[in-house]
Symmetry: C2
Subunit: 201 residues, 2 copies
DNA sequence: CAGCTGACAGATATTGAAATCTGTCAGCTG
DNA sequence: CAGCTGACAGATTTCAATATCTGTCAGCTG
């Protein structure tokens, strides 16, 4: 709204880009739109991001990182020795939080969710990093469970990857249309039960 | 090639449609093309299929049914009392066969596979029936395992659904690009191990 | 003189007129 | 007369002209 007297930073450009994407959608959001929203010429945007693709990738990374961070709280006191909740509950909570967060985003603002689907499809690398991040969180939960004698897992990394893949139906955005169908909650619980049963020592 | 003197049947139209889809792809395959391939006017095609969408749906169903049939052999002597292989091997074989079949189709003829991906996306109902069919096959294997005392499952239907969902990464065509990446084989084995461990009595 | 502007060339997207396709049906044909 | 044809209206797609956008850079400005 105001003529933005602050210095032009990468951060401010990213915020404006998110806003433009929200307003116009991924197909019609242009670098000129972003510059106009900031009250600068589009040449200035190119001073901070080499290409439009790089700008969109940065927006994608930011968004995926926010998701990772919101989950890291559940991985919690890993290695701090306080024990906390039992490993099984922790793992179940982590997946429930992931599923709930994704489902809420898809349900609350379908258009914005669709926009981010397009962004993730064109930025496979950023998604790969995000998945590696999530699998890392899972690995730490599994490792803690093995250490506590609650889980049996020869190789926590492999097990973490297996858990991630086996639950994709409930967090991969491509299944979003199916998340609202009746029975989804039951399906989720059934998969979790089966996986946790396979994990028990 | 030849002027096809045989009577015009739904079956012959479906075969010609598959051929036209193979040649022109899903975007450019027209009803006029199908009629031309058969040496008839396009009005005759509409005598057997009410709309173009109905014709494409029938082609989709045929294709999905062929996949189901190729797996039904593995469900095999369910209930015939001969025992056969142990339930765990049977289940593993079934999933291996499903994964191998999908991966072969995607790898051997990527264009045709992409064509059928488009068809399945526009025919959600047919896909739903196909999934129900596959889950039914799984349920029978699980039930046989429970009867033999090898598997623990309160509700074989629920368990079958869970097994299906947990393995989607390895048969849902949307993941096809990832099937050729290194480590996929290991990921598949890890998921299967975890699921079978969770299933054991 | 660091940071920004705006004109520019080539690439990409939009638009509207023309071509093709879908679905119908009255009538032809064997 | 059962089954097929082909002309037709409205819907959809194609294509080429036009407009917009991306990315660069010489020069302006505070």
């Amino acid at each position: 709204m105001a003529p933005t007297p602050q210095p032009l930073t990468a951060e401010r450009i990213l915020e404006a880009t998110e806003e433009v994407l929200r307003r116009h959608g991924p197909a019609k959001a242009t670098v000129v739109d972003v510059a106009r929203a900031l009250g600068v010429s589009h040449g200035s945007v190119y001073r901070h991001f080499r290409t439009k693709a790089a700008l969109r990738e940065a927006v994608t990374k930011r968004w995926l990182d926010r998701t990772s961070e919101s989950l890291s709280g559940i991985v919690a006191g890993d290695g701090n020795g306080d024990g906390g909740r039992d490993p099984e509950t922790r793992l179940r909570d982590w997946f429930s939080a992931l599923f709930a967060a994704k489902r809420r985003k898809a349900g609350d603002d379908p258009e914005l969710f669709a926009t981010y689907m397009v962004l993730t499809e064109e930025n496979g690398d950023a998604v790969g990093e995000h998945i590696a991040d999530l699998v890392g969180q899972l690995r730490r939960i599994v490792q803690a469970g093995v250490d506590a004698g609650a889980f049996a897992a020869d190789d926590p990394e492999t097990t973490a990857r297996a858990l991630f893949h086996a639950s994709r139906r409930f967090h991969d955005p491509r299944y979003a249309p199916e998340w609202e169908q009746p029975g989804t909650e039951d399906d989720f619980r059934a998969v979790m039960d089966l996986l946790l049963r396979g994990l028990r020592a």
